[in-house]
């Protein structure tokens, strides 16, 4: 076996989703809209929470600013101005949020927005509840590093949430609801891990069935997450780095 056969063979992760950066430059309006929806779906919650913490804004004002920011992404063609070689898309967007909020302050022209932002349900009540759950040392909250870390963490949480949702839909479409329930029980629940034996008894299946189901679900979760991540990166290099950060560099 040689490198060529191995390095490029098999069913390697296929980057089926185009990067939002490429898609927003498309002449196809539908593709542009889809790209913005994906961006909004992945980023609205981290941005909302970031504005609440970093800029210490009350919930209603943060909601308005979050919506305003995504309108601004469209109006000011922020994505077209992004240069993948200079920064990560995530960092760029965070800097844009800072600049947007700061400019809004200066102009003092707060206004209710809506209508022009991508069709994504922004469940601010849920975001607010999650923010209450966020464990963050108040003493560290002032440091820019901790806010950067917070934004990154929330962004990853948002990405994983979307991927779990996609996985759920995939399981439903393929008649594998039980697989999703097993995945949910073993990998998503907050309690200490239950054993494969316990799951097998609970679902009246064999341990190897549990093993196979979980292996499939994890493989699909990984594939979906990487597809979504690929879409949200400005370049292949950024994708590699983000993927390593998301899946490859957590040490306990």
């Amino acid at each position: 076996m040689n490198e060529e056969e191995l390095g490029t063979g098999g069913d390697r992760f296929p980057p089926t989703r185009r990067s939002v950066i490429e898609a927003v430059a498309s002449i196809d309006a539908e593709e542009r809209a889809r790209a913005l929806e994906s961006l909004c779906a992945a980023y609205w919650k981290p941005i909302y929470k970031y504005i609440r913490l970093r800029w210490d804004r009350p919930a209603d004002e943060a909601q308005d600013l979050t919506q305003g920011f995504f309108v601004g992404v469209l109006e000011r063609e922020l994505l077209e101005k992004f240069e993948p070689k200079k920064a990560r898309l995530r960092t760029y967007l965070r800097v844009c949020v800072d600049s947007f909020v700061s400019n809004e302050d200066k102009a003092d022209r707060r206004q209710k927005r809506g209508g022009d932002i991508p069709h994504v349900a922004l469940d601010f009540a849920a975001a607010e509840e999650e923010l209450g759950n966020a464990v963050m040392d108040p003493a560290r909250i002032v440091s820019p590093e901790s806010l950067d870390e917070f934004f990154e963490k929330e962004w990853l949480r948002s990405l994983f949430t979307l991927a779990v949702e996609d996985l759920h839909q995939l399981c439903l479409a393929r008649g594998r609801e039980r697989t999703f329930h097993l995945f949910e029980a073993y990998d998503l629940e907050d309690h200490d891990k239950i054993s494969y034996d316990q799951l097998a008894k609970e679902y009246a299946i064999s341990v190897s069935d549990v093993n196979n189901a979980l292996a499939w679900a994890r493989r699909e979760f990984r594939r979906i997450s990487l597809e979504r991540l690929h879409e949200l990166c400005g370049s292949e290099e950024e994708f590699q780095r983000e993927a390593r950060a998301a899946f490859g560099s957590h040490e306990k």
């Binding site: 390697r12 759950n133 998503l188 292949e236 390593r244 899946f247």
Partner: protein
């Protein structure tokens, strides 16, 4: 959608990282460590019923660059059959697209964990010579390691010394075929990391570039390697790393195992070897690794070394240390004769 707690996030990351070994002959047993490009697990080869170390790439590279590099590492290891280099058993691709290879599972300790202050200088130097032996073998086969450091040396449970992690290896010739259509792999290995970006640093302390490639470890990589001077890298770059490694080995020798009498010599002679090996200019270093190993060997045998011009006193001290037993024996004999003569003529 349900809120994912931090605990659930950690589990998801862990779950997504676990390699899916469906369709392979291996069964996962546990995680061992993280390397520059991927994670090393211990697995059971179900056909041969033995434990193996399984190294899996972090993720499938969209451009295949990392995958090619891991395969290249396996191919490099496969052609280096030496007792000081861990043998590769198998290489392949998992169902999720990640490349893996399996190798001998070595139970032991990393050199930096193994070296205790109580280990004698001689013991340390013998380990060092075995490292040199393995690396010199690789050099003779046209392979540079480029990431030699204590964390990449394993001391096995039978005392075997193994040089690990050849993910950054440079081929001085291209006998191991580079991936089709890919640029010279060396051209992508040496990219400047983003300053202050800790995401470029792997768990082992190696610097990782934006493409996830490792370029070396600060403190152990040669200046030319740090500059990314790929074209001019040769065995002397590894010699630099080995000089730094030797310095690490002799730095923490306790006074108990290193009597003050010998400390002066250890400082001068061994430091001279380290200094020569880590000279900023490659031309001032040992030209080949066997030359450096020979100096260390000569030091151990109490012979003069190439790296250090000793004074007359140092020569006498070395002579005394080398032939101490005979000198003391002759001294004792002469003393006895003098005493006998003294009492006879009294």
């Amino acid at each position: 959608m349900k809120f994912l707690s931090d605990k659930a996030m950690d589990r998801l990351r862990e779950a997504a990282e676990i390699p899916d070994l469906t369709g392979t002959r291996y069964r996962l047993l546990g995680r061992v460590a993280r390397g520059g490009m991927g994670v090393v697990y211990v697995a059971e080869d179900e056909k041969l019923e033995r434990r193996v170390a399984l190294k899996v790439l972090d993720m499938p590279g969209a451009d295949g660059d990392l995958a090619n590099r891991l395969v290249r590492e396996a191919l490099v290891l496969a052609r280096l059959e030496h007792p000081g280099i861990v043998p590769v058993h198998d290489v392949g691709t998992l169902s999720d697209g990640r490349v893996f290879y399996t190798m001998k599972f070595v139970q032991g300790q990393r050199l930096d964990k193994y070296i205790q202050p109580s280990r004698s200088t001689t013991h340390r130097l013998r380990i060092f010579l075995r490292i040199c032996d393995a690396v010199a073998f690789a050099h003779a086969h046209g392979v540079l390691h480029r990431d030699l450091k204590p964390a990449n040396i394993m001391i096995g449970s039978f005392g075997e010394v193994l040089v690990m992690d050849w993910g950054l290896a440079k081929l001085l010739n291209q006998e191991v075929r580079p991936p089709s259509g890919a640029a010279d792999p060396d051209a992508t290995i040496f990219e400047k990391p983003v300053r202050g970006d800790d995401s470029n640093r792997s768990a082992g302390g190696s610097v990782v570039t934006g493409h996830g490639t490792v370029m070396g470890t600060p403190g152990y990589m040669s200046p030319e390697q740090a500059r990314g001077d790929v074209e001019h890298l040769d065995a002397r770059s590894d010699i630099f790393s080995l000089g730094a490694l030797l310095r690490f080995l002799i730095a923490s020798v306790s006074n108990a195992s290193n009597p003050a009498a010998g400390k002066q010599r250890l400082d001068k002679a061994l430091k001279a070897i380290c200094s020569k090996a880590t000279a900023p200019n490659p031309g001032d270093r040992y030209a080949t690794l066997p030359e450096m190993a020979q100096d260390v060997s000569r030091y151990l045998d109490g012979l003069p070394i190439e790296a250090h011009r000793e004074s007359f006193i140092e020569t006498l001290t070395r002579f005394y240390r080398r032939y101490r037993f005979f000198i003391l024996l002759i001294g004792a004999y002469l003393l006895m004769r003098v005493l006998i003569l003294f009492f006879m003529h009294r």
